[in-house]
Amino acid sequence: MCKDCGCSITDNHSHHHEEHHHHHNHGNPTLEDKKTVEVITKILDANDKQAESNRKHFDEHGVFAVNLMSSPGAGKTALLEKTIEMLNDELKIGVIEGDLETNRDAERIKQKGAPAYQITTGQACHLDAFMVHDGIHHMPLEELDIVFVENVGNLVCPASYDIGTHLNVVLLSVPEGDDKPAKYPVMFRSADLLLITKVDLIDYFDFNIEKAIEETRKLNPKVDVMIISTKDENSLKNWIDFIKMKSSLRKVRT
């Protein structure tokens, strides 16, 4: 499959390799058995290169790709179900699902009529660019406008991995509490858009929306925010408009 699209990781990798590496021999010339080599390369370098290649795939097809991240149960799959329903074929959506076990989320998406591919990560608590690359090859990209990658439910690990999408959307549900941005700064800093979800439950929890937004913006001053409930289609109008707008901006060709 990878040969078809010319995106073989090994090629890509050795390609960029040399330019990032600076080797200096500080060894003792009379005793050539120890050598100190300066490397200065990101530890996740291979992942980042694969992420760039994934983004190119999406770009070649004019597909807008979104990385959805949150803790388990914040409503990622419910949001996708509702989004597919509300877009009503106006835009074609594909979903790459990441979960430790089961393909239940992919089944839920397929029920809504959208192509979905489940990556079961086993013990891995996050998706990396290689797993998403595998997922991309199971997506009919030429037929799609948007690909959502539903990351593994986890507020820690997924934040460290660029998976090659264009936008990071982080969901924070009302039952989780408004203290999560301060507790998980790396995740909330990575967000381009924060969705405060399950706002229909606001009367039952001590969740201060203003505080959640303020703490996120302290970490991440440029983040956009929407407040939604999948039980209320009106609250999702902005989200649907936003998705349509962003998708159209990805189709502009030079």
């Binding site: 080797h23 058995d33 300066e38 460290s160 991440n220 001053p221």
Partner: protein
Amino acid sequence: MHELSVVQSLIGLIEQNAIQNNANSVSKVIVKIGKLSGIEPHLLKLAFDSFKEGTICQNAELEMIIQDVVAKCENCQKEFEIKDNSFVCPNCKSFNLQVIDGEDMYLMSLELDVGV
């Protein structure tokens, strides 16, 4: 925890560099871990020490440099350390910051045994 995945990437990167330098083994690995890289240094060390068995890093010591988060203000051009996770310029209060260090993990250098 994704420390084990990070260690797998790290050891892969070390192996490449060791092969390029015809090394027999690696005696020291120096990494720089940003305070906002999302990695717990203590767990990274544990993961490295258990995963290195049977690899070229078997006898390697891992040295970690813990990097503060440093940003540069695009408005007033001042460089400063981010404290208390507040991403605002302490000098001019601008949000227009470029984080220049402390969000990533780097393999900095290796001490290799090249033998005779």
